[in-house]
């Protein structure tokens, strides 16, 4: 479509494979603000696909459009082969969405919430109850089945909310920030569940603010910011563009800061950032190997370190690398 300067053509998905989502030039504005500003998306069937972006990037807005909850201002899309706008009812028959915030009835019990949805989908009588119980068991919620949802913990709510999306196994499942606010154990549980679903053939489109989450789960990642796609690729491809992360060093003697910065810049071929607190330097390292060699060079030059660490790239650093540091810089295609 007329979307300006997007990340090139869609990936080389074989044309014969029907796509779960095929979107062209989607736009959604709130007032004068373009929350989604011309996004193309091709999500193949049967994969986990991640949309990565910071707060306010437009992830939720994009997902709500694809789940038929809000109408695009411009652009076209087919979801599971049905047109998003003209055939919304057919789309709804094949998707399920777990939104960013729990969409459960707090006054009802966990079981009643599932029962409500099972009946709306058309399960009758005992079949509805059986389906609810089966989901409760699968999500480890049987013990809490007759507790009101308002007494659930965050992790329990999340599990119930996802269970509520699986009353009928959807062809395409939307998960908007499925692990935000969960503790590490609950996060692992949700990841395991997402993988299991994908293994059973459900296409999963999830959003996340965490690079490691996208990395852990997704076959393909789209990075968006300010409503635009700024990169797309596999996790490997993105990392190749970003490097394996940042090397942080702290010097024992602040007087050697300039010497250390010059040396690191020369060895790693990247801009060295000085932390305002003083004797600390950060620099992007292409690989752990390169980082180790740079550290060895510092020591060989007699520069003593009080601390060093290697951090995998944060979302900030990914954006920094992908956009060349400029805010909302032109898109950059990430290719191996």
């Amino acid at each position: 479509m007329d979307a300006p300067d997007l990340a090139g053509r869609p990936p080389a998905v074989a044309d014969s494979v029907p796509l779960a989502v095929r979107a062209r030039g989607l736009v959604k504005s709130f007032g004068t603000m373009r929350a989604v500003d011309g996004i193309d998306l091709d999500v193949p069937r049967g994969v986990i696909f991640a949309i990565l972006g910071p707060n306010g990037a437009g992830k939720t807005t994009l997902m709500r459009m694809l789940a038929t909850l809000s109408r695009p201002d411009a652009g076209t899309a087919t979801v599971m082969g049905h047109d998003l706008v003209t055939d919304a009812h057919a789309v709804r028959g094949e998707i399920a969405m777990t939104g960013q915030f729990a969409s459960l009835d707090e006054d009802l019990t966990g079981r009643e919430n599932l029962l409500l949805l099972a009946r709306l989908w058309g399960f009758r009588g005992r079949a509805a109850g059986a389906r609810a119980d089966e989901l409760l068991a699968a999500f480890d919620l049987s013990d809490a089945a007759s507790k009101q949802v308002k007494d659930y913990s965050g992790g329990m709510r999340r599990r119930l909310d996802i269970a509520a999306s699986l009353v009928v196994t959807p062809g395409l499942l939307f998960l908007d920030e499925p692990t935000t606010g969960l503790d590490p154990k609950a996060r692992q549980d949700v990841w395991r569940m997402i993988r299991a679903l994908a293994a059973s053939g459900v296409t999963i489109l999830l959003t996340t603010q965490y690079l490691d989450e996208a990395d852990q789960l997704a076959a393909r990642i789209v990075v968006i910011d300010h409503g635009r796609k700024i990169a797309e690729g596999t996790s490997r491809e993105l990392k190749a563009a970003v490097g394996s992360g940042f090397l942080h060093v702290a010097l024992a003697d602040p007087a050697r800061l300039d010497a250390a910065a010059t040396l690191l810049a020369a060895r790693l071929g990247a801009v060295v950032q000085r932390s305002p607190e003083g004797a600390r330097l950060s620099v992007m390292a292409g690989s752990p190997q390169a980082a180790t060699e740079a550290l060895a060079a510092l020591i060989a030059a007699g520069i003593e370190l009080s601390d060093f660490s290697m951090a995998s790239p944060s979302l900030d650093e990914v954006f920094f690398a992908l956009t060349g540091g400029g805010d909302a810089a032109p898109a950059q295609e990430v290719r191996p």
């Binding site: 909850l69 969409s103 409500l116 009946r119 709306l120 569940m193 299991a196």
Partner: protein, 282 residues
């Protein structure tokens, strides 16, 4: 629904343990239910809410009880000569007032559901789009019947006698339900437009108090200044009250009932489509 597990999926904490680990099998969609069946499910939800949130019944019941007792015994003598005489005119009126005020609840419930994203889930389901509203209506009807029944009970205990008997009371309650249904649309629209349930209640009450008090419910309009009488005479709430009194006393004319029905019918015709458009556009 298919009973054939295509591939077993384990979702529990311990993927290696197979001690009774539940399996999640792919489940196909059953035959799509009818719009009516969807609506019934939402009605069932409304009933469940009464079970789980009995506090809402307290609100619902206390206000009319207080109004009935206070007005009858505090003002009854002054307004109608004796509390007993006042009851005869007041009970049908307070029924109208209660139903009109109770219509606020479904708007508040709608606003709450929208705020929590619950309606997003409903809207992403392949169901009849208006089914959730049908559920709100069922909740409304239950509320009206409960509150109306309590007021009538108190009235009877205090000596109120509907001269038209059971038939009159049934007809009056049917009219009440139509009134509640019609007025309910106002609050559904507010619920869709306003972000918080409290805002729905505040704006709703700001509008309901004047139209209820500036009516013939509590006081004979003949004692009011001319300009206010002019308003009371055309206030739809007055028409509703007159018809209710007529139905319960067995003196109602077709004209009175028609006037009472005018506002609810008009509200439904105008606001039902507005509700649908607002709901779809969100």
């Amino acid at each position: 629904m298919s009973d054939v597990p295509m591939s077993d999926v384990r979702l529990s904490d311990a993927p290696t343990s197979d001690t009774g680990t539940p399996l999640l099998r792919p489940v196909a969609r059953p035959r799509p239910p009818s719009a009516f069946s969807n609506a019934l499910v939402f009605g069932w939800r409304a009933v469940l809410k009464f079970r789980h949130v009995p506090e809402q019944l307290f609100d619902l019941v206390m206000t009319p009880i207080m109004f009935t007792l206070l007005f009858t015994f505090v003002f009854g003598g002054a307004l109608a000569g004796s509390p007993g005489d006042y009851l005869q005119v007041f009970i049908p009126g307070i029924l109208v007032q209660t139903v009109v005020f109770n219509a606020v609840y479904s708007g508040m419930g709608l606003s709450t559901d929208l705020g929590k994203g619950l309606f997003d889930r409903f809207r992403s389901l392949p169901i009849w789009p208006l089914a959730p509203f049908a559920g709100l209506m069922v909740g409304d009807i239950l509320r009206h019947l409960i509150a109306g029944g309590i007021i009538l009970g108190i009235g009877l205990a205090l000596g109120y006698r509907p001269e038209a008997g059971v038939v009159g009371v049934v007809a009056a309650f049917l009219l009440l339900l139509v009134i509640g249904f019609g007025v309910g649309w106002i609050f559904l629209v507010l619920g869709l437009l306003l972000k918080t349930p409290t805002a729905v209640m505040t704006i709703g009450f700001a509008f309901l108090f004047p139209i209820n008090f500036a009516s013939n419910i509590m006081v004979d309009p003949a004692t009011m200044p001319d300009w206010l009488q002019a308003f009371v005479d055309v206030n739809p709430v007055s028409f509703m009250t007159t018809a209710m009194r007529g139905l319960m006393a067995g003196t109602a004319t077709v004209g009175e009932v028609a006037l009472a029905l005018a506002a609810p019918v008009l509200l439904t015709l105008v606001l039902a489509p507005v509700t649908l458009v607002l709901y779809r556009r969100r």
